[in-house]
C-alpha cells in the first residue's frame, strides 16, 4: 500500500491506496466518483480524462499515487451547487451528448482546451479531441458546444 495525500474537486483525501491501483479505479471505487468512465484498455477512448495538476490526463493510464500531492479535478467538480458550469451548459444547449458515457472525458478535455487556447478554431477543437471517442454524436454538436463557450467567454471578457 502507498500513502497518498491529494485534493479531489477541492476536498482533501489522505489514505492508503494499493500501489497498482489506477487513478480511474481509485476515483470510481475508493471515492465513488463514478462520473469518470472507463471505455477501453489501451488508453485511447478518453472517457476517463480528468485533470491532474491542471492538465488533462487519462486516469486509466496512471497510478493513483502518482497524483500524490496534486489537485485532481473530475466531472463531479465542474458544476456549482446551483447550476451547470458553462461547458456543461453548452453541451446541454447544443445537444452535444447522447448516451453520456464519453461525456465526462469530453467535458474535461474541452475545459483543458479552453484553458490552453481560449479561442480555438473548429479545426483546433477537432484536433484537440483526438483522444476522446464519441460513438453517438458524430462530434458535430460537441464542436458547436465548445465553440459557443469560447464565444460566450470572449464576449463576457470584452464586456
Amino acid at each position: 500500500m502507498e500513502t497518498v495525500n491529494l485534493i479531489v474537486n477541492g476536498s482533501a483525501f489522505s489514505g492508503e491506496v494499493e500501489g497498482r491501483k489506477l487513478l480511474s479505479d481509485f476515483l470510481r471505487e475508493d471515492l465513488r466518483c463514478t462520473g469518470t468512465h472507463v471505455g477501453c484498455d489501451t488508453g485511447q477512448c478518453g472517457a476517463c480524462v480528468v485533470h491532474v495538476g491542471g492538465k488533462a490526463v487519462k486516469s486509466c493510464s496512471m497510478f493513483a499515487w502518482e497524483a500524490d500531492g496534486m489537485e485532481v479535478a473530475t466531472i463531479e467538480g465542474m458544476a456549482d451547487e446551483e447550476s451547470l458550469g458553462d461547458i456543461q451548459q453548452a453541451f446541454q444547449d447544443s445537444h452535444a451528448l447522447q448516451c453520456g458515457f464519453c461525456t465526462p472525458g469530453m467535458v474535461m478535455s474541452a475545459a483543458a482546451l479552453l484553458d490552453e487556447n481560449p479561442n480555438p478554431t473548429d479545426a483546433e477543437i477537432r484536433d484537440y479531441l483526438e483522444g476522446n471517442l464519441c460513438r453517438c454524436t458524430g462530434y458535430h454538436n460537441i464542436v458547436k458546444a465548445i465553440r459557443s463557450v469560447a464565444e460566450r467567454r470572449a464576449s463576457a471578457g470584452a464586456a
Binding site: T42, G43, K55, K58, M62
Partner: protein, 263 residues
C-alpha cells in the same frame, strides 16, 4: 495487472541502483507501459518511477544550437519549449498521441521503448542526436538496433537527449488510421549542405536513415532531387494498414513533402 513493488528515486543514481534489481523496470509517463501492465503483457517485479527525478526534467536551448531534453520530460513540454527554437521538433512532439497522452508520455520513454512507429526516433536519427544515459553518451546512429531494440543495457536509463538544431527541418507524419501512430513518418534535416533523412513506421528494423536520399539532397536540397530515387520494399512492415510496397511509396512521398516544407 499483476502486483509489483515501487521505487521512487529522486536522483539518477538512486534510479540506476533501483534498476539493477532483478525484474526492475523504469516507468516514465506510462502511456505505453501501463496499458501493457493492464493487459498483463508485462510483469515487472519492481517499477522504478522516473517522474520524481528533477535532473531528468526540462528543456534547455543550449547555446542556440541544440535542444537538450531531460529524459523524463513530457511531449507537451517539448512541444511548448521548442516551439521557437526548433519548430519541427516541437511539431513532432505536439502531434504524438493526443493532448492527455502528451501530458504524461516522455521523450526518454519513447526512445527507450523504440516502437517502430514512434516519432522521436526519426527526429533523433535525422538530427544526429546524442542520447545520454546514466553512464555514457550514445549517438543516435549507434542507438537504434531494431524493432523495440536499442543500445541500452538492462537497467540503463536515458537521462538527457541532445537534438542539434538544423538549419532547415520538417517532419511529415502519415498516421495509421486507428492508433494514429506513424504509418510512415519522415524527418528531414539540413545542416549547412548536409541533409539527413530519417524514416520511422516503415521498416521491420525500426527507424532508419535513407542514405540515397541524403546523398541526393546534400547535393541539391529540393524535392526534385529525389524524384528518380526509389526505396526497396524489402524488410518494410506489412500489415492491415499497408503493404511493404505502400510503405516504401509513402517514404518517398513524405520525404519529398518534408523537403518542400523545409525549403
Amino acid at each position: 495487472m499483476y502486483d509489483f513493488e515501487f521505487a521512487r528515486p529522486t536522483t539518477v543514481s538512486e534510479a540506476a541502483s533501483a534498476l539493477a534489481a532483478e525484474g526492475a523496470q523504469a516507468l516514465g509517463g506510462g502511456q505505453t507501459l501501463i496499458p501493457s501492465l493492464k493487459n498483463r503483457l508485462a510483469s515487472p517485479s519492481l517499477l522504478v518511477i522516473l517522474a520524481g527525478i528533477d535532473e531528468m526534467r526540462g528543456v534547455d536551448i543550449d547555446a542556440g544550437d541544440s535542444v537538450v531534453v531531460g529524459g523524463a520530460t513530457t511531449h507537451a513540454e517539448v512541444a511548448s519549449a521548442a516551439a521557437d527554437s526548433f519548430p519541427a521538433l516541437a511539431w513532432l512532439a505536439g502531434n504524438i498521441g493526443d493532448p492527455a497522452v502528451r501530458n504524461r508520455g516522455t521523450v526518454g520513454g519513447s526512445l527507450a521503448n523504440n516502437d517502430p512507429s514512434a516519432c522521436y526516433p526519426a527526429a533523433a536519427l535525422a538530427t544526429g542526436a546524442t542520447i545520454a544515459t546514466n553512464n555514457r553518451k550514445i549517438s543516435a546512429d549507434d542507438y537504434f538496433k531494431g524493432m523495440f531494440e536499442s543500445a541500452l543495457y538492462e537497467g540503463e536509463l536515458i537521462t538527457k537527449v541532445r537534438f542539434p538544431i538544423p538549419d532547415a527541418a520538417n517532419y511529415q507524419k502519415f498516421e495509421q488510421p486507428a492508433s494514429r501512430f506513424a504509418l510512415v513518418g519522415v524527418f528531414v534535416a539540413r545542416f549547412g549542405q548536409e541533409a539527413r533523412v530519417a524514416v520511422t513506421g516503415a521498416s521491420e528494423n525500426g527507424a532508419f536513415r535513407w542514405a540515397e536520399a541524403e546523398a541526393a539532397l546534400s547535393a541539391d536540397f529540393s524535392s526534385g532531387a529525389i524524384s528518380d530515387l526509389s526505396i526497396s520494399a524489402d524488410e518494410m512492415i506489412r500489415d492491415l494498414h499497408g503493404s511493404s510496397t505502400y510503405r516504401a511509396h509513402l517514404t518517398k512521398v513524405l520525404t519529398a513533402r518534408a523537403v518542400d516544407a523545409a525549403s
